[in-house]
Symmetry: C2
Subunit: 190 residues, 2 copies
C-alpha cells in the first residue's frame, strides 16, 4: 500500500536497527482518516471472502479493527484481552503468547460468547514480527471451531520470521506494508 | 440517549447489584454501527465546542473514541496507556489512578508529543463510576497546559460518586445513559 509506505517514511521514527515507531498515527495517537484508508485496503485484499467477524487483540489492534469493520458492512469486532479483568466471563477460550518485547509469556482470552462455530473470522493487527500473537489468535479461532479466513497486518517486519510461521500453518497473510530492513536509519520496503 | 437505554435493556447483563455487563456491544465485542450512533450523539452534545483532539484510555475507550472522531471531523485520537510498554517514549505525562475493580493503583501515561499546550481536549470513555480514571485524564491534560472541554461517557453509574467529583472540579460531564440503580435484576435510568 503506497500510501502507508509514504506515511511511514513521513511520520515513522526509527530507533536502533529494528524498531519503527508509528505512535503518531497508529498505536498511541490515531489518524482516523488514515485508518479508514487502511480499512478500505483490507476490504480490497479480502473482497472475495465472506467475513462474519473481525478479531483483534488489545490495545493497538482495536482502532484498526473498529474502523476497518465499517468497510466490511459493520461486522462485529471482538478484541482478545491480555490482562486479567474481573468483569471477563469465566467461560473463555485462552491461549498463551510469548512476547519477545516483554520477555515473558502472557495469556490471551476471548469470551466463548463471542467466537462461534462456523463463523468466518478475519484477524487484523497493527504489527507482525515473530508472529506469536497472530498464532495465538488462530488458536482461539480453532478452539471455537470457527474458520480463520486470513490475517491482515498494517506493518510487517519482513526481516523477522512471522510470515514464514503463518504460511507454514496455511494461513493467508495480507500485509499493507512490508519492511525489508531498518538499517542506519534507512527503511527499505519489500 | 433513548437508543442506548434500549440497547442496555436488550443486550446488557446484570451481575449482582452493581455490575452491568455490556461486553457484547461496548467493551469486548463491539457493535460498530451502534458506536457510530453514540459518536453522533457525542458530537450533538458538544456541537458548540471547538475540539482539537479526543483523549481516551486503553482499552475499552479506544473504539468509542475512534468511531466518535469521525463525527468531529476526524480529529486525532490519543489513548493513554496503562501498562508498561518498552516502545513508549521516555518523555511522558504521568498520573496515578486508583482502580476499585482491581484494588490497586496504576500509572496512566501519555507521550508529551501528543498533548500540547492550548489544545482543546475532549475526553471520552465507556464507563463513569467513581470518576478516578476521568480525573487522571484531566490531570494529564492539565500537565500539558491543554484545555479540557469536557468528559463524554457512554454509561454513567449514577449511584456512584463520579459525577459529584467531576462537577466539583468544574468539569463539564455528558453521559449518554445514566443508571440510577441496578437492583434485583432491574435497571433504572435517571
Amino acid at each position: 500500500m503506497e500510501l502507508l509506505q509514504e506515511k511511514i517514511l513521513k511520520d515513522g521514527r526509527i530507533e536502533g536497527n529494528d524498531i519503527l515507531k508509528v505512535d503518531n498515527f497508529l498505536n498511541h495517537q490515531l489518524d482516523i482518516a488514515f485508518l479508514n484508508e487502511m480499512g478500505k485496503e483490507f476490504k480490497n485484499r479480502f473482497k472475495d471472502e465472506k467475513i462474519d467477524k473481525i478479531l483483534t487483540i488489545e490495545a493497538s489492534g482495536i482502532a484498526i479493527a473498529s474502523i476497518a469493520s465499517q468497510h466490511f458492512g459493520n461486522v462485529p469486532v471482538v478484541f482478545a484481552k491480555k490482562v486479567e479483568s474481573k468483569n471477563l466471563d469465566k467461560e473463555v477460550y485462552e491461549t498463551k503468547v510469548y512476547s519477545f518485547t516483554k520477555g515473558k509469556e502472557y495469556s490471551v482470552k476471548v469470551s466463548k460468547r463471542y467466537l462461534n462455530e462456523g463463523e468466518n473470522i478475519l484477524v487484523l493487527d497493527d504489527f507482525l514480527a515473530n508472529g506469536r500473537a497472530a498464532i495465538g489468535l488462530k488458536d482461539l479461532v480453532d478452539q471455537a471451531g470457527a474458520n480463520l479466513v486470513g490475517v491482515g497486518i498494517a506493518i510487517e517486519k519482513g526481516f523477522q520470521e512471522g510470515r514464514e510461521l503463518l504460511l507454514s500453518k496455511g494461513i493467508r497473510l495480507e500485509s499493507l506494508a512490508i519492511l525489508d530492513s531498518i538499517e542506519n536509519g534507512v527503511i527499505k520496503f519489500r
